[in-house]
């Protein structure tokens, strides 16, 4: 790969119980997906304070992915419902600020859904490839 | 006993800050000898004058005290070796701030009192009380806009 070729850099917050397990499964079952995501394991997707998404975004991540259990499946019963509300807030904020919502994504990935991990990361990588690098990556006056 | 308020309507409110070793000791000695100090002087004990936050003095002067006196061990006698030297600098600093802003550096006194100096303690309390009575009320204590 040439030095100036763009390699997307995605930060993924994966919940310990479903999504992280699914990512493990994806690896074990040799699902292929682009090596664009840096996974941060959190105990629950609701551990992700919206400002963490903002920090990753402003810090130069090309996309930020929050992944948790499907609604109703949360290990802590209600965590992901709260995540959903927080994410709705984030989306609304990003929209109002004209930052676009393409670079932030919420995905429900169940423990057995290794293929969805590949799908989601593949899809997000494609999106980033299409819209290009996040301008925050090089901006100096942040 | 004649107090500083005799013949004078204004009875100042005095806060007398004492270190727990010498200053308080002075007060104890005074009481052991049956010496009295004016009733408008309230004692506030701190471990060492070196541990007295400037803000406490300021708050007293803003919220109600007409004068604040501070007494700790004589130079060289500090239980913590150097607390009184630091206190002296801190009080000097405070007095300078009060003086520069015209808030009355005379309303803050610093005098060393040793454990055995009961007489000196009582005299200081009375003298300071008279001194403040002569200065008149501290205007800050009645201001609503502080």
């Amino acid at each position: 790969m040439s030095a100036d070729a763009f390699a997307p850099n995605i930060i993924g917050f994966f919940c310990n119980w479903c999504s992280y397990t699914a990512a493990d499964l994806a690896g074990v079952s040799r699902k292929k997906y682009p090596p664009t995501v840096r996974v941060i394991r959190v105990m629950c997707s609701s551990r992700v304070d919206p400002h963490m998404v903002v920090t990753a975004f402003v810090g130069g991540a090309d996309a930020v992915l929050v992944a948790g259990c499907h609604p109703g499946d949360c290990h802590y019963v209600t965590g992901n419902y709260r995540t959903r509300r927080r994410f709705a807030l984030l989306q609304s904020m990003f929209e109002s600020l004209g930052l676009g919502t393409e670079r932030i994504k919420l995905a429900w990935i169940g423990a057995s859904e290794g293929s969805i991990v590949a799908d989601v990361i593949g899809g997000l990588t494609e999106t980033v490839n299409r819209i290009g690098p996040n301008p925050t990556r090089q901006a100096m006056f942040l | 006993m004649k107090g500083p308020s005799m013949g004078n309507e204004f009875e100042p409110k005095i806060l007398y800050i004492l270190c727990s070793w010498c200053g308080t000791g002075g007060a104890e000695t005074a009481s052991a000898h049956g010496l009295h100090y004016p009733e408008n002087v309230r004692i506030y004990r701190v471990n060492c004058t070196g541990s007295l936050p400037a803000v406490h003095v300021l708050r007293a002067l803003i919220e109600g005290a007409d004068g604040v006196a501070v007494s700790g061990c004589h130079p060289g006698d500090c239980h913590y070796e150097s607390g009184n030297y630091h206190a002296r600098r801190r009080i000097a600093n405070l007095k300078k701030i009060l003086g520069t802003l015209g808030l009355g550096e005379d309303r803050l006194w610093f005098r060393f009192v040793a454990h055995g100096e009961g007489r000196r303690f009582v005299d200081t309390a009375a003298e300071f009380s008279d001194h403040i009575a002569a200065l008149g009320p501290n205007p800050l204590t009645t201001r609503k806009d502080t």
Binding site: D49, Y81, S92, S96, L97, M140 | -
Partner: protein
Amino acid sequence: MTEALKITKTPDEAIRALLAFLLESGKASAVLSLDRIGQDGAPIYSLITEAKGLESAAPLLPMMPSNAGKLLAEMTELAPSPEPIAAVLKPCELRALVELKKLNQANLENLLLISTTCGGVFPLAIRNNGGISEKLAPYREALAKGEVADGIRPTCRACEHFVPYNADLTVALVGGQANDGTCTVLINSSRGAEALEGFEGERTQAKLESDAIEALRAKRAEEATKLFTASDTAAPGLDGLINIFGRCLACRGCSNVCPICYCELCYFDSVVEDPTPSKYEAQLRHRKATRVPPGTIAFHLGRMTHMVISCVGCGMCADVCPVGIPVATLFSMVGKSADKVFAYVPGKNLDEDLPLKKYEVDELSHLGEERIES
């Protein structure tokens, strides 16, 4: 129609008389009201305990040196007030108080909340160059006609919540009654009724809503659209944000005066966010240079995620900003659209939980499910 008291005095005199009555009758031990202090008559809130202290008070002055909701919360944060306190607040200050109550930062027991229909407040800057007095007559005139007064804070121009929620007593300032030498006080609660018992005035039935209020509401909505679609702050994007916040001094004035930002130590000033050599190295990996202190945009957007859902649009942040960043415009714009997602109006309903404190199982089902085909 609501129970009301008609007082044959100008609103300012009537409210001062009412506050004096409350203090003298012991119905209130203290009164929180705007005061004019010093020779310059600086508008500052005071907690007044004596009727004669009300001489300098200006409870209805269209100024906001602090958000009074924040003041009441700071006062009652540790415990409810042991004695009755009457407070005259603007509707957004009252909304802030209610939000703070929901955030467990205030106790409303023993508070008699008096509010007004509000014509907006002047920016703090006007007291620095001249005064407020000459602005008052045109302000009152605009209020009587239900017009947007000149020179008020930008967020006030766009405020549609100028009729107070949760007030025990509401003083009608917007509409015809404002300038005829009388004052109508609407009684919204039993606490309000008790407070007025024994106070001079004619008991009537009154309706707060009037043509003037309708007219003002429509004009404010128009102004809101104008303000929130203005080219410099609407959907600014990253470049726009850098332009807006480029001059930020990181002084934290905005969060210091924000009624909703109650944290004693802001997360963004905490040790977690301390810039370290390795963080600078990370910053410089892809950049030719990086800003110091770092994290200007991250602070503002981060603060936004923390408080914008409760933003009452009072405009304190913009007023205090030493470099004139339109913080309030941006925050109330974002807040307004975020609140729309949850059909929430900050400070309107005491019994309604904060949107981020609750959830519904069946909602927002579009989130988390959509897939991009790869």
